[in-house]
């Protein structure tokens, strides 16, 4: 069986070219990547860094499920979902999602589905560290 999904949860910086290499396929005409980035501001406050933590086994199995669903729903070829944990500085990449497909429309739809669903269901949490405090993102209104 050809492996068509690669899920990684890592303490090390993520690599766009590693994701690209995984999803490349001689029959793929289009590849879409979503790359998350750590923003320096949130609601007008300066963010110094972010701490990510994950309930690791379940985060991996939920990301695997999302990729499987996306392949089934949109008929795409290969999906890589790589997510960081640990401390990230501004500009570092918390997540990369790469999708290859024979046709580009399906790749766009599948990639958007993966990131939208990841943000709803995958047990990963980020804490924003400010000069004067810290907050778990989205925990409270």
């Amino acid at each position: 069986m050809v492996e068509n999904i690669e899920i990684i949860l890592s303490n090390e910086p993520l690599s766009l070219s590693v994701c690209q290499s995984f999803v490349e396929d001689p029959a793929a005409g289009g590849i879409v990547h979503f790359v998350g980035a750590v923003r320096n501001h949130t609601k007008g406050k300066t963010v110094i860094r972010l701490d990510f933590e994950a309930y690791e086994p379940m985060a991996i199995s939920e990301m695997q499920k999302i990729a499987e669903q996306a392949i089934q729903k949109f008929g795409v070829m290969k999906i890589a979902i790589h997510h960081r944990v640990g401390t990230l500085e501004i500009g570092e990449l918390p997540v990369i999602i790469a999708v290859s497909s024979a046709h580009r429309k399906a790749a766009f739809e599948a990639c958007q589905y993966c990131i939208d669903t990841l943000k709803e269901t995958v047990p990963i949490w980020k804490k924003e560290i400010f000069e004067d405090g810290e907050v778990w993102v989205s925990a409270t209104p």
Partner: protein, 80 residues
């Protein structure tokens, strides 16, 4: 029975630790555990959501908990 819950994100701050033992009656459901937590720690009411994972799957409200289950508190996720 005594169950052990694992706490991630803001729930660790609320319960004051990663691992917490909680006394529950036999046959308690996920909904019962959530009610118990909210009664004991009113800060849970302020959360946008609270899900309970049972053995690495989101458990629905009626699911009955046993001592052997891995119970994890899942506050609003914010990955990506």
């Amino acid at each position: 029975m005594k169950i052990k819950v694992l706490c991630f994100g803001i729930t660790r701050d609320i319960l004051g630790g990663f691992e917490k033992e909680i006394e529950l009656p036999e046959g308690a459901s996920v909904a019962f555990l959530k009610q118990r937590l909210t009664d004991e720690y009113p800060q849970f009411q302020k959360l946008n959501s609270l899900r309970i994972a049972v053995n690495e799957e989101y458990g629905n409200e009626e699911l009955v908990i046993t001592e052997q289950d891995e119970i994890v508190l899942i506050p609003p996720v914010s990955g990506g």
